[in-house]
């Protein structure tokens, strides 16, 4: 088990959550007034409070919290002392710590998080790929792009910790979130550089395969995405039961499917409206057509697959009662328990005790504003 000091914003906080999911001791160093992660909405119970942010509750689960203020004369040496006990630091803030000031085996990950989410998304090229065909381009929701960059930072930190385990050597890891975002444009980059093809937004009418799209049904939307293997088109047309689709043998060719995509999808749409998500998806899967629901976050909070696999674990919350808590993908696979996110400074006494501070010293530090 490593000890990780966490001063991450949204991306860094997901990187360190992954480290907590791996069973490491992650200590979140937070300003006494709360940080941006705690202020990010929406809020559980709709209470805009530092202890109620949905992002805080997910991202800081499994961590300990200490409210050291490194910007005070007494807080800075205390922070450095904490760093001396650590195996890694993951930070999205620039801190004036030189390699000479730290142990040779310390892993130090600097994440350059983007200041402006929407502008960074526009610069990265991802905006040009997200949204409806010819419609207004859209930002990916839920601040997803920060979490996605956070996994890259976790990969870099884990690689450096692996080196440390073998050689005893620490090092600096640098992660630029803007670069991370741009790597996710790689398919469009390859298409363009090889053939000049410009990848466009295709919204709910499919990505790579001809027969693919998100279509309305009785209680929402479902997705069908079909690779054209021999004989599959006929089976698909038979399922849809549409005379026009069954009656035109030319439609079995991949090229014709692409050319007549809108016609085909309109026929499928007219048919699928009569079913619920679960009716049509279950039947599609029974017939081996890649089908899925379009899930809302509320659907996912009740999702049978996530429950069956233990990704959602029933947790007793003192304020909200029993809630299904998202354990996290790495915690689930390792069977790692995740403690609820800490209250601000919840572990001050415990962590200062580990640093050898007495209660009296701690109270004195609190009075200076360092805690």
């Amino acid at each position: 088990m490593w000890r990780i000091i966490d001063l991450g914003n949204l991306a860094g906080a997901y990187a360190t959550r992954l480290l907590a999911e791996s069973g490491h001791d992650v200590i979140r160093v937070e300003p006494a007034g709360g940080d941006a992660v705690r202020r990010t909405g929406p809020f559980l119970g709709d209470v805009p409070d530092l202890e109620q942010g949905a992002f805080h509750h997910f991202l800081n689960a499994g961590k300990r919290s200490v409210s050291i203020n490194p910007d005070t004369p007494e807080g800075w040496p205390l922070f450095l002392e904490l760093v001396q006990t650590a195996d890694a630091v993951v930070t999205s803030q620039r801190l004036p710590v030189d390699d000479e000031d730290t142990k040779a085996d310390l892993v130090w990950t600097d994440i350059e998080e983007v200041q402006d989410e929407l502008c960074a998304y526009a610069r990265s090229g991802l905006l040009s790929l997200t949204g409806q065909r010819e419609g207004r381009p859209m930002l990916m929701g839920g601040h997803i792009i920060y979490l996605a960059a956070g996994i890259q930072a976790a990969v870099g930190t884990a690689a450096a910790l692996h080196v440390r385990r073998i050689t005893g050597q620490g090092q600096r890891v640098r992660v630029s979130m803007q670069d991370c975002l741009e790597t996710f444009v790689e398919q469009a980059m390859v298409e363009y550089t090889f053939s000049g093809t410009r990848t466009e937004r295709r919204g709910n009418r499919g990505t790579i395969t001809a027969i693919s799209g998100a279509l309305p049904c009785k209680d929402g939307h479902w997705v069908v995405s079909q690779i054209n293997r021999p004989g599959r088109w006929e089976k698909f047309a038979e399922w849809v039961g549409d005379a026009d689709l069954m009656g035109d043998p030319s439609l079995s060719s991949d090229d014709v499917q692409r050319e007549k995509k809108d016609f085909i999808m309109d026929r499928v749409l007219a048919w699928s409206r009569q079913f619920t998500k679960s009716e049509i998806v279950e039947e599609g899967q029974r017939r081996r057509f890649p089908s899925s629901p379009v899930s809302t976050p509320l659907d996912l909070a009740r999702d049978p697959q996530l429950k069956a696999r233990g990704y959602l674990t029933e947790t007793e919350d003192p304020r909200f009662g029993g809630i299904p808590f998202p354990l996290g993908t790495v915690a689930r696979v390792r069977g790692q328990e995740m403690k609820p996110a800490p209250t601000l400074g919840q572990h001050n006494a415990e962590i200062l005790g580990e640093l050898g501070c007495s209660d009296a010293q701690r109270r004195a530090l609190a009075e200076t504003g360092a805690l």
Binding site: G41, L44, L59, D116, E117, L118, C119, A122, R123, L126, S128, Q132, E134, P137, M140, G141, G142, I144, A148, I151, G156, H162, V163, R165, Q169, G170, V173, E182, V185, E186, M189, V190, Y192, S195, R201, G203, N204, G206, T207, T209, S212, A214, V223, I227, Q285, P290, S292, P293, V294, S295, L298, D299, L300, L306, A308, I323, P326, G328, T329, V330
Partner: protein, 404 residues
């Protein structure tokens, strides 16, 4: 390990992956210095669909980017001798990665439970769509299915919009990155314990984690969060505005009152009537949140007459965060090309751009990019290195027809 070596040097990875999720994951491992060997066969070409570029050797453009820095062995897994040699390679490996449907590795006799006895330290990563257990274990899925099932399409876009997708293989990247992280952690842990692990990473769960805060919100609040489109809960106005020309747009995000005044003055200069800057309704953030629709219309009345680059320049000069929408051609051709891509010598085409790992490690140099292998290019070499197979056994094996 020499301190000047890449982080994963000496780690042997056997890659049974196809198309993207698993091959993307193993590319990350290769970028970190692992010895990645792909198990391939002419009987089952990877990515049998049309592609905008395909070399006579069958390799297509995306393959060249996804499988660089790897070696290839050709083994027919339908052949008993092929399965046997694949098994011996898996026993000699540190890591196995596969993204078959659940049950396929069992049918090949290559499942974790049976390999574990012979190779207790093996780290075995499975990356099927929904994982190897649960009611959807056997569901088939493509990238777009998972964009829908894991909630991405429903949290993207504004209230009332249809589900909104992204035109890339988002789930393969997110699944690949999570699995790469989990594999490195397992390798480190193994140094202390000697024990391997089966990492049954469903791509679905990896993608759900990306919106887990919103899932938690819905679990507690009993309703869905608002679909925000391009707006922010913290800043107003924020949006993507249409500019002059075909599909030209500029993103604008106003963080404080000073930026608002600067934006309003720029808009008023172009479209003076009625003035935005002096409108008392919009002086505060909460007022701008309430009047967001009207503000958006007024901003767009100004931007749509201007080039997107012009809007960006004017606003940035005035201190307002703004960025025109860049496309892939801007990332690769522009005077300031993306650092995410790097030129690589590739004999099939001379040279090509390939994705770089967006990480710098100060003490562990990352290996230079080498071109993707031809099918079976390294069969003999790898069987010799990993299995100490003498030449006569190699030719006997080849004679069975299992190495195609």
């Amino acid at each position: 390990m020499n301190p000047d070596h890449p982080p994963l040097s000496g780690v042997r990875v056997l890659d049974f992956g196809h198309v993207l999720a698993a091959p993307f994951c193993t590319r990350l491992l290769a970028d970190l210095g692992a010895d990645v060997v792909r198990v391939e066969s002419s009987r089952h070409p990877d990515f049998p669909w049309p592609s905008s570029y395909r070399h006579p050797d069958g390799r297509h453009a995306s393959y060249l980017n996804t499988n660089r820095n790897k070696r290839s062995v050709s083994i027919d897994l339908k052949h008993p001798a092929g399965r046997d040699v694949a098994r011996r390679l898996a026993v000699a490996a540190d890591v196995v990665v596969e993204n078959f449907s659940a049950g396929v590795m069992e049918r090949l006799g290559l499942e974790y439970a049976s390999l574990k006895a012979a190779n207790p330290g093996l780290v075995f990563a499975s990356m099927s769509g929904y994982g190897h257990s649960g009611p959807r274990r056997d569901w088939t899925s493509m990238n777009m299915n998972l964009q829908g099932a894991a909630g991405l399409m429903q949290v993207t876009g504004a209230e009332g919009d249809p589900p909104t997708a992204i035109s890339n293989s988002w789930n393969d990247y997110i699944g690949g990155l999570h699995t790469c992280y989990a594999i490195i952690g397992a390798l480190t842990e193994r140094k202390a314990t000697g024990a391997g692990i089966h990492l049954d990473m469903g791509q679905f769960e990896c993608s759900v984690s990306m919106i887990a805060p919103l899932v938690l919100f819905s679990a507690v609040n009993g309703r869905n969060p608002e679909r925000m489109g391009n707006r922010s809960t913290r800043f107003a106005p924020q949006g993507v505005y249409r500019c002059a020309g075909q599909d030209e747009w500029c993103a604008v995000s106003v963080h404080d009152d000073a930026q608002w005044r600067a934006l309003a003055e720029a808009v008023d200069e172009g479209v003076p009537d009625p003035g935005l800057a002096g409108d008392p309704r919009f002086a505060t953030r909460s007022g701008r949140m309430r009047g967001h629709d009207e503000i958006d219309q007024r901003i767009e009345a100004w931007t749509r007459a201007l080039e997107s680059a012009d809007v960006e320049t004017r606003l940035k000069r005035a201190g307002v965060p703004a960025a025109r929408m860049r496309r892939v051609q801007d990332l690769v051709e522009n005077s300031a090309p993306s650092r995410a891509y790097r030129e690589m010598d590739e004999p099939r085409v001379g040279s090509m751009l390939t994705t770089a790992l967006p990480l710098e490690l100060s003490a562990s140099p990352l290996p230079p990019a080498t071109p993707a292998p031809c099918l079976g290019q390294h069969t003999q070499e790898v069987l010799r290195e990993w299995l100490d197979l003498p030449a006569n056994e190699l030719s006997e094996l080849a004679a069975t027809g299992a190495l195609i």
